[in-house]
Every structure is written in C-alpha cells, then in structure tokens.
Symmetry: C2
Subunit: 192 residues, 2 copies
Amino acid sequence: MARPKEFDPEIAVDQAMEVFWRKGYAATTPQDLVDALSIGKGSLYNAFGSKRELFLRALRRYRDTQTAALVETLDRPGPVKERVRAALTAIAEMDLADPDHRGCLAMNSTAELARTDKEVADLSRRMLDITEDAFRTLIAEGQRTGEISPTRDPAALAALLANTVAGMRIVGRVPEARDRLTHIIDATINSL
Amino acid sequence: MARPKEFDPEIAVDQAMEVFWRKGYAATTPQDLVDALSIGKGSLYNAFGSKRELFLRALRRYRDTQTAALVETLDRPGPVKERVRAALTAIAEMDLADPDHRGCLAMNSTAELARTDKEVADLSRRMLDITEDAFRTLIAEGQRTGEISPTRDPAALAALLANTVAGMRIVGRVPEARDRLTHIIDATINSL
DNA sequence: GTTATTTTGTAATTCTGGGTACAGAATTTG
DNA sequence: CAAATTCTGTACCCAGAATTACAAAATAAC
C-alpha cells in the first residue's frame, strides 16, 4: 500500500535479541540497536515503537526458541536419565562456550526487571512453566519404564529440574564454572 | 584531625545496599542514594568516591552477612536433612515474604554485571564457593552419621545444593512462586 | 585564637539516553 | 501520472545521570 520496509523485522528482532542478551536491557542504548540492526533511528522507532516494545518482542522470541530447543532435546529417544543429562550438558556447554558469558536472556531479565515489569515477570513464569511441563512428562515416562522410582512426585521433581536449569544459567556466568556445572549435572542425575 | 563525618559510613553502606538490592545497579541513581542515606551529594562522593565503589562495598557487605546467616542455619543441631530443609525454607520464606521480590543481590548483580565487571563476578564466585563449602561440610557429616549414602560425592552434591539455592533466588522473583519453591525443597530433600 | 584539615550543601557541568520532527524517497492504487 | 501512504535518514530536543567545583562550616592541633 506504500513504501515497503528495506529490512526484515523478524531478522531485526533477532539482532536486537543478541544485543539485549549481551548487554542487558538498561545498558542497551538506542544507538547500540541502530548500529546492530544497521537501520536508521527513524526506521527503528517507526517499526517498533520503543526500546521496551522491541525488547519484549526479542524476549518472546527468545523464550520460544529456547523452550523449543529444550523440548526437542528431551524428546529424543533413549533412556530417560540420559536424555536429562543430554539436556543439562547441552546447556552447560552452551554457556561455557559463549565467550561473552551471556547466560540466559530470560533469567537475566528476571533478575533485572521482574520487580518492576510485570510483562517480563509473566514471560519468565511462562518459560519456567513450559520447562517444568517438559520435565514432568519425561519423568512420568521414566516412572512407566521403571527408570525412575514411582514413589517420587513428578511435579516436584520437575520443579527441581527446571530450577536446576535456571540456577546453572546464572552460575555459568561466574568465572571458572566448568567444574561447578559438571558437579551439578552429575549430582542431578544421581539424584533421579 | 579535622571536621568529623556527620553520618556513620557503615550504616550508609547498609542503606545503599538496600537501594541497590531493590533497584539494581544501573537503575539506582546518585539521587536515590542521597535520598536514602539522607546525606548531601558532596558527602556521598567525598566518602565513597563513586557509585561503583559504594556498590562494591555494599555487595561485599551483602555477601558477608548472607553467607554468615546460611552457615549459622546449617550449623544448628539436628538431623542433617532437616538442617538443609530449614536453610532452604528460610530462603524461600524470605523471598516470598519480601513485598519487593528483590531476590538475591549477588545473583541479581551477577546477571546484570558479571559479563563486564570482573570484580562483581569474582565476588559472586566467592559467595558460591562459601555456600558450597558449607553444604559440603554438612553432607560429610551426614555421611558419617549414616543419614546420607556414602556412595554420593559430597563435592558434587554440595555444588548441586548451592546451585539449587541460586536458582530459587531467581525463580522466587517470578509471580506465583510459592508452589514452585515448595516443590523444589521437597524434591531436594527427597534426593539426598 | 589561629591554622590546617576535612566535611557539607548547593550549584554548576558535561554527557548520554531515549525519543521526536520533518523533509524527502519509495511504493500502491486508480 | 497523480494521490495517498508509508518508510528512511538527519537533525534536533529535553530530561536526567554522574560527577565536579567551591564556598562555608566544623573540628583538632598548636
């Protein structure tokens, strides 16, 4: 109906996500975004309205891709405990391999903004819910196959595993985290 | 030797800690600090040099008081598992009772600053180390008394417990955390 | 009581963050 | 092609952040 955009908003959101992930919300300036997305300020504000709106889009995108990746890993065939280990190991390796030590955008945002921004808080809650659901389903399967004791409460165990993931993503940001993360994974698997 | 300070720097650091804890580092302005400490800007900068230096003093103080409180709880008499439960419950209740949902200053600061501020990152690592040590000692005691299986690796289990605490303090900040935290504690105790 | 020293409060000061205004360019529709 | 509409880039704007400057005040030492 009129002049078309010269950039792809979806790609732009992805790029914005990287910036927010690396620097945090408050520390990211409009100029950082303009530089990273390679568009003008006019286009930025025309397309996304405000820094916060763009941030929320980026955070939603992050949640969706991350939870999908976790569910995908947990859904692969094999013994249940091995699948849990694979998922935790993937997360640990991801954090350790990242030279920027960005951790998890959602947990970082929770720490930074959950108190004042309800929308961010709800987004994080949703992400934890999805993570817990995925673990609960897996644990129930493990109890059917006999890999996990039927006396354990799947809901509680799932909450614990989701919490372990959340913790790892913060702990993975402090220096010399490798041994810590390895210990956490080993002890977790031995606790199932 | 000259004019004495009209305020107690120790108390001022405590008050600054409260502000940083509530608002985060970047979101705290010198004006916020001046208001909370009830001193002038001149005094603030004369006494502490810069916002960052004051923040680091506050963070150190936080680490010291928090770790001391945890160690104190874990050192109380009673069965080992009950002591772990008491410590986790105390943390959960603290987070749930706080109307501001501030979580843990050290973990919040890690999420916000660990990537760029080595001093903050090292401080957080130290706090995790102390926490882990306290749990490890307790677990060793549990293995001596037979409360905890001797086949388990105390170091790994301690890392897991410290990580559980770290996770809880983030997770406790999202809405409707009570059930989640209760589940986490129950599953943790059942995993020992 | 004078001097030296440190603290205090107020008033600048500088810089940046987040955003707006606007003129011109690129489209679609008819 | 004209009209209507939406995008783009540049320039501008204003508030507030973090600090500094400085004069006046309070004290200790002599």
